[in-house]
Amino acid sequence: MRSSFFRILALIRKEFLAVLKDPRSRFIIFVPPILQCFIFGYAASFDLNSIPYAVFDQDQSAASAAFLSRLDGSSIFRRQAVLGRSEDIHTWIDNCRALLVIQIGQDFERHLLAGEPAQVQVIADGRNSNTAGTALGYFEIVVEAFNASWRANHGQGSPTIRTVTRSWFNPNLDSRWSMIPSLIGTLTMMGTLMLTAMSVAREREQGTFDQLLVTPFRPFEIMAGKALPNIAIGLTQSTTILLIAQFWFHIPFVGSFLLLYAGLGLFLMAAVGLGLLVSSIAATMQQAMLYAFLLVMPFALLSGLTTPVNSMPEFLQSALVINPLRYALDLTKRIYLENAGFAQLSSDFLPLTVIGLVTLFGAAWLFRKRLT
């Protein structure tokens, strides 16, 4: 038992030495996650700050001018052109010069003054449905505001229902607030799974694995010696991203660090377990890399990072119970933004523990099986 412990310690020491001494692997561990964190933080935002639009105003009235000035005054809508003919609508949308084209009919002011509903047609570029949807949402808000002030100014009484929205945990609905905490899990999983899968495959390819196997190391000790350093490296990566989120992007962390790290620890155990599983199947580094990629891509895309898991087809949702990233995203976001407690997160902790144990033991079993 004692000697087993010392052997594992020796292996851990060696792993760290091998990874941290090589400038290239040091680079791979730290630079890409930091870089990706900034890139995603700045670029991968679903918020629209500038919506180019064109207007085809057939009314040319004081009311239409008042409506358009509201749009322009929002600082989000940027008017690119005033169109003279309806044929121009096509060219502006087709060439992506405008995301929206707003067509105001010639009876706009007359209807409004008569207290009747007036129509404004909005043509959106639906080639990117997400962006178009968001832009239309913003447009609705402007219309709503215009309506309210028109009624007030023209003594038509206030509308019966007014919605007052308040968004919890992310008051400005800044998508960066949900994106960056999600990156803690996503980027760390990519790095850790790859690193683990490759480290065993590399040893196998270079013949050092045989050398390990003729020493008194038992398969279980080799697994532990491979898993622990990679979990530690994964935690370092997570911490880096966590620090960037708090001190660069100023996203306030409201939860418990203890709970967050407990969750990340379990998640990394699952990621490393998957990595070891891959490496016990792969014969070469190339194979290990391909298998790891095959896992990482769908896991990242179907984790709820960009689209909610709940809106995925039923069968896919049930297939995704094995995706550790899905639980990790839920867990990090909820602890980070919501200060969720352990009881609320048991639906994340439990599956992560199961996945971790199954993959680690599965990998150990496969290791042994290849030897006996």
Binding site: A10, R13, Q206, G207, T208, V214, P216
Partner: protein, 592 residues
């Protein structure tokens, strides 16, 4: 035969070439070399590692330009028109670029297409090549699944798809067993007979004997040039066979002789020691020799080569003192430490190892010999516990390997064929890791690492990442790491594959000394001369043990040419062919 035919196939005139090492120092790879080979000749470039053999071949292909001097190939100036040379010369590098995932046929097709061979020519050419290389039955096999010898033959076939006028081969027989080596040589001889000019490099000195011209290189300098007989004659009257004193093993006696200042070279041979002396007399100066009888024996190319190198500045200086374990490992000489009974290993339906049995006593050196694919490596991996046996019993130092693999491993050290320590870690870190892996700690660990560093002369390299060690030192480090826990048994897989004659002698000196101190050594090799160092050896083919015994007993299977005793290589080929049900080869036909 001093001047080649009027228009030589290749000619070098005062050629120099230097390289810059990563460290910035400049190395003179070729220093003022002049050499020529006549049309239709078979010539060899010989010399130890780093002699400049590969550089010379690459200059001849026009892949590289010389710094000074003239390189002319088929009367074309290599510096001016390398393209013209490349269309008429074929070059097979040491590691030929076969595609492992393509079949034999597909590899050939690919190379034919690369050279723009028409379909018509291809058909004609392929039939010839397949017949010549004997690869016909394996056309559909993946190149990656071929044995070392067959890979070389396929590489040669790919090189020959477009019949060249001059064929350049870089160490074509490295890693190839004697049987395949002989077949490769038959192909080469046939090509020469058909009028092709062939220049090959080799670190196997016996191969030079069969060539018409040789160029002996050492550290970029030309030591000799001419027919091999001229080199052989350098040792004329200096070669002797010495009988070891009563009760002494030939290899121990050889180690003693090597230490004598006037002995240029000594190798065990047939229970005696073949030695090359500095003096042409009976070697009366040597005290060790004086105690025994030595009789003159005909010189070989290798002897002459050693004399040349000795004159050029001492080949023996590469030798180091033998390794000594701290204290001998007991003296129970007759106790059997490795017991293998009816060992079987299947891979699916294929029987890789078929009821192999042998036993090895403490302090013995035991050799596993056999052609590529004979089952040596599989047997070896089972002994080390890297591969489970299908049937049979395997006992190492009293532990059943099949039941208790982990504890059997405490008793053994393993040195793989390929360098397999951690390349990124320094020499010191590697030793430290393996010491810990074997459960050494504290004072004990420090002491063992200090021992390893001093015994293997690793002191200057402690802080160097082990991947950057020079070739010979990598093997020393691997051995040092394998001996840290003072194993009773040392397993060495093809330890001298690709090593030059000096590295091989140095290596065996170490092994001999370890065995003398009670370490049991099991070694696989396909260099038959090395079987002479073994106490006993088993010859495997197709998974079965064909013969087993002392080198002398094995040699008795073949009769040598008149006046000569058979070499280990003759014996090996005779035994393997007999085992395969083919008539035994004509004695002595193996090489020369």
């Amino acid at each position: 035969m001093t001047t080649p035919a009027s228009s030589p196939a290749l000619r070098l005139d005062a050629v120099c070439k230097s390289f810059c090492r990563e460290t910035g120092e400049s190395v003179l790879a070729l220093d003022n070399i002049s050499f020529s080979v006549g049309k239709g000749e078979l010539a060899a470039l010989v010399g130890p590692d780093g002699a400049g053999k590969t550089t010379l071949l690459r200059l001849l292909t026009g892949l590289m330009k010389s710094d000074r001097g003239i390189v002319s190939v088929l009367e074309i100036d290599a510096a001016k028109d390398p393209q013209a040379i490349q269309s008429r010369v074929a070059y097979m590098p040491q590691k030929f670029g076969l595609y492992d995932d393509l079949t034999v046929q597909e590899n050939l097709d690919l190379y034919a297409d690369l050279h723009g061979i028409t379909a018509e020519e291809k058909r004609r050419q392929f039939a010839d090549l397949m017949e010549m290389t004997g690869l016909d039955p394996f056309q559909k096999r993946l190149a990656g699944k071929l044995s070392g010898g067959m890979k070389q033959k396929l590489g040669l076939a790919c090189t020959l798809v477009r019949t060249p006028e001059l064929l350049l081969l870089d160490e074509p027989t490295v890693g190839v067993d004697p049987l395949s080596r002989r077949e490769l040589w038959e192909i080469i001889r046939r090509l020469v007979k058909d009028g092709m000019t062939v220049l090959m490099s080799s670190s196997f000195l016996d191969e030079a004997e069969g060539c018409e011209r040789v160029l002996v290189l050492n550290e970029g300098k030309e030591l000799a040039e001419g027919p091999p007989a001229e080199v052989r004659n350098m040792a004329l009257g200096r070669t002797f066979l010495a009988q070891p004193p009563q009760g002494m093993k030939a290899r121990d006696f050889q180690a003693q002789l090597l230490a004598e200042p006037d002995v240029i070279d000594a190798v065990p041979e047939g229970g005696q020691v073949r030695l090359v002396s500095q003096a042409r007399s009976g070697g009366s100066q040597s005290t060790t020799l004086a105690r025994t009888t030595a009789r003159a024996t005909p010189a070989r190319f290798e002897d002459g080569f050693m004399v040349l190198l000795d004159q050029a500045g001492g080949a023996k200086q590469t030798y180091t003192e033998a390794v000594q374990p701290e204290k001998p490992l007991g003296d129970s000489r007759h106790e059997s430490v490795v017991e293998v009974r009816n060992l079987v290993r299947h891979f699916g339906k294929f029987v890789a190892v078929d009821h192999v049995s042998f036993s090895v006593k403490r302090g013995e050196i035991f050799g596993l010999l056999g052609p590529n694919g004979a089952g040596k490596t599989t047997t070896f991996r089972m002994l080390c516990g890297l591969l489970p046996a299908s049937e049979g019993t395997l006992t190492i130092a009293g532990t059943d390997v099949r039941r208790n693999r982990a504890s059997a491993r405490q008793h053994l050290g393993y040195v793989a064929q390929k360098f397999s320590l951690y390349g990124q870690l320094t020499v010191g870190e590697n030793l430290d890791f393996f010491a810990r892996a074997y459960g050494l700690g504290g004072e004990k660990k420090r002491e063992r690492i200090a021992w390893a560093i001093s015994q293997f002369k690793l002191e200057p390299f402690i802080l160097l990442p082990s991947a950057q060690l020079p070739g010979g030192y990598k093997q020393r480090l691997a051995m040092a790491a394998a001996l840290l826990h003072r194993p009773e048994i040392l397993f060495l897989d093809e330890p001298t594959s690709g090593a030059d004659p000096f590295a091989r002698r140095e290596f065996w000196q170490r092994i001999t000394s370890l065995a003398a101190h009670g370490v049991t050594v099991i070694v696989t090799t396909h260099l038959m001369a090395e079987a002479e160092y073994c106490d006993r050896a088993a010859i495997l083919d197709n998974g079965k043990v064909l013969a087993q015994g002392t080198p002398a007993e094995l040699r008795a299977h073949a009769s040598g040419p008149a006046g000569h005793s058979a070499t280990m290589e003759d014996a090996f080929i005779a035994i393997v062919l007999e085992g395969r049900g083919k008539p035994a080869a004509k004695p002595g036909a193996a090489q020369s």
